[in-house]
């Protein structure tokens, strides 16, 4: 199947459509991404080309809308991605928030673009492995993503060997997963720690309880400047004073609204919201 065999150029349509649905900006050099990510959607819907997919979306096909948004927003991701932010979490961020919250013994962590769950589950593993005292605390890990398909997989907690290979220490695989056929199933004890919810960062947010730590990693890069500013303002509003924001390794912080103090720890930078 050659998706671009027809003369019609569907890229401008998908640029606008994806932006309208997810605020993700697809520049010209992302043209390949539309073709590679949407080819399976076209095939599974028994359509013949991207033009047919475009017309189905214009007719308001909701099922295809979900499939398209999922395909364009879901990425293969790794455990403990970039390593250093998780070391910062383990060695500095969590200890500091635990001291701050020792009176009420509660801790809230939000993984704001959790994809198929590797990030919130990595956080849960750190809590379980390094902070046994937290078993007497009320700890909530909220994990949200725009893509319904990714969230369904995250909730299921079943991962292929290819996914398991991506940055998960073998010792953790043995401790927190059990083999089920060709897949690895994450243990219930970790699954119970994470609450998955669908949330589109680019639209109006539901009410979210104040957070101690927000992981907003590798998602801002997809947004245009006004959306980035809106999302960062939302993050600030939902973070407790003294709470921490963790961004992706390659992400700019120029637009970070005032009130955050950059802290270098474990070879990375975390951002702490100033106390009032």
């Amino acid at each position: 199947m050659t998706l671009t065999a027809r003369e019609e150029d569907t890229f401008p349509f998908f640029q606008d459509y994806i932006f309208a649905k997810s605020a993700i900006v697809l520049t010209e050099e992302k043209r390949y991404l539309v073709e590679t990510r949407l080819a399976p959607v076209v095939q599974q819907a028994n359509l013949s080309c991207l033009g047919d997919l475009m017309r189905a979306l214009l007719r308001g096909d909701r099922q295809l809308e979900t499939a398209v948004v999922d395909a364009m927003t879901t990425n293969e991701t790794s455990w403990f991605r970039d390593k250093s932010p998780f070391e910062a979490l383990r060695d500095h961020v969590l200890a500091e928030r635990m001291t701050a919250n020792s009176g009420r013994r509660a801790l809230s962590i939000w993984s704001a673009a959790c994809s198929t769950g590797q990030e919130p589950y990595s956080v849960a593993m750190i809590l379980e492995a390094h902070f046994p005292e937290l078993s007497f605390w009320n700890v909530e890990i909220l994990a949200t993503d725009l893509a319904a398909g990714a969230l369904a997989r995250a909730r299921q907690g079943r991962f292929s060997a290819l996914e398991i290979n991506r940055g998960l220490p073998a010792a953790h695989l043995l401790q927190y997963f059990s083999r089920e056929g060709a897949h690895f199933q994450i243990n219930d004890s970790l699954k119970r720690r994470v609450l998955f919810q669908q949330l589109n960062l680019a639209q109006t947010w539901p009410v979210i309880p104040p957070q101690d730590v927000i992981l907003l990693r590798n998602v801002l890069i997809y947004f245009d400047a006004p959306t980035r500013q809106r999302v960062l303002a939302g993050v600030r509003a939902n973070l407790r004073p003294g709470g921490f924001l963790l961004l992706g390794a390659a992400e700019t912080t120029r637009e970070l609204v005032g009130g955050f103090v950059p802290i270098s720890v474990a070879g990375t930078t975390v951002y702490q919201l100033k106390e009032n």
Partner: protein, 134 residues
């Protein structure tokens, strides 16, 4: 960084060598456990890293790792098992024998680099920044 790739498949040795060379490693190869031990014994300098397949003629990867861990002089070497064996009990056996990490075949280049990063093996920042993932 110096690395020794031990695998009876020429294609697999080439693939892993390629990945390691792309991050600046100096790579030597061995086709089984006996070959690997001979190379280690005659080496001027110990490799920093050894990637070991499980099933090989002459001496398999599990036995090679046990032999390597018997010699205190070879202790600083980081060892990762790279194998099609994906049963957890086999992972336990490999780790108990002295492997530091475990990678299941088939793997992607990104998976190799992420495991090396986990092991504290120097992976250039450019290579880490280019890793795929959402």
């Amino acid at each position: 960084m110096r690395a020794l790739v031990v695998d009876d498949s020429r294609a697999m040795r080439a693939l892993l060598t390629n990945i390691l060379q792309s991050i600046g490693a100096e790579v030597t190869q061995a086709k089984d456990g006996c070959d690997a031990l001979a190379r280690l014994r005659s080496a001027d300098r110990l490799p920093d890293l050894m990637l070991v397949d499980w099933h090989m003629p002459e001496m398999d990867g599990l036995e090679l790792i046990k032999q390597v861990r018997k010699d205190p002089a070879w202790k600083p070497m980081t060892v990762m098992m790279v194998t099609t064996e994906s049963e957890q009990e086999n992972m336990v056996r490999a780790l108990l024998a002295g492997a530091d990490e475990y990678l299941i075949k088939p793997f992607t280049r990104d998976a190799v680099l992420e495991k090396l990063n986990l092991l504290g093996v120097h992976v250039p920042e450019q290579a880490l920044a280019a890793l795929t993932g959402g």
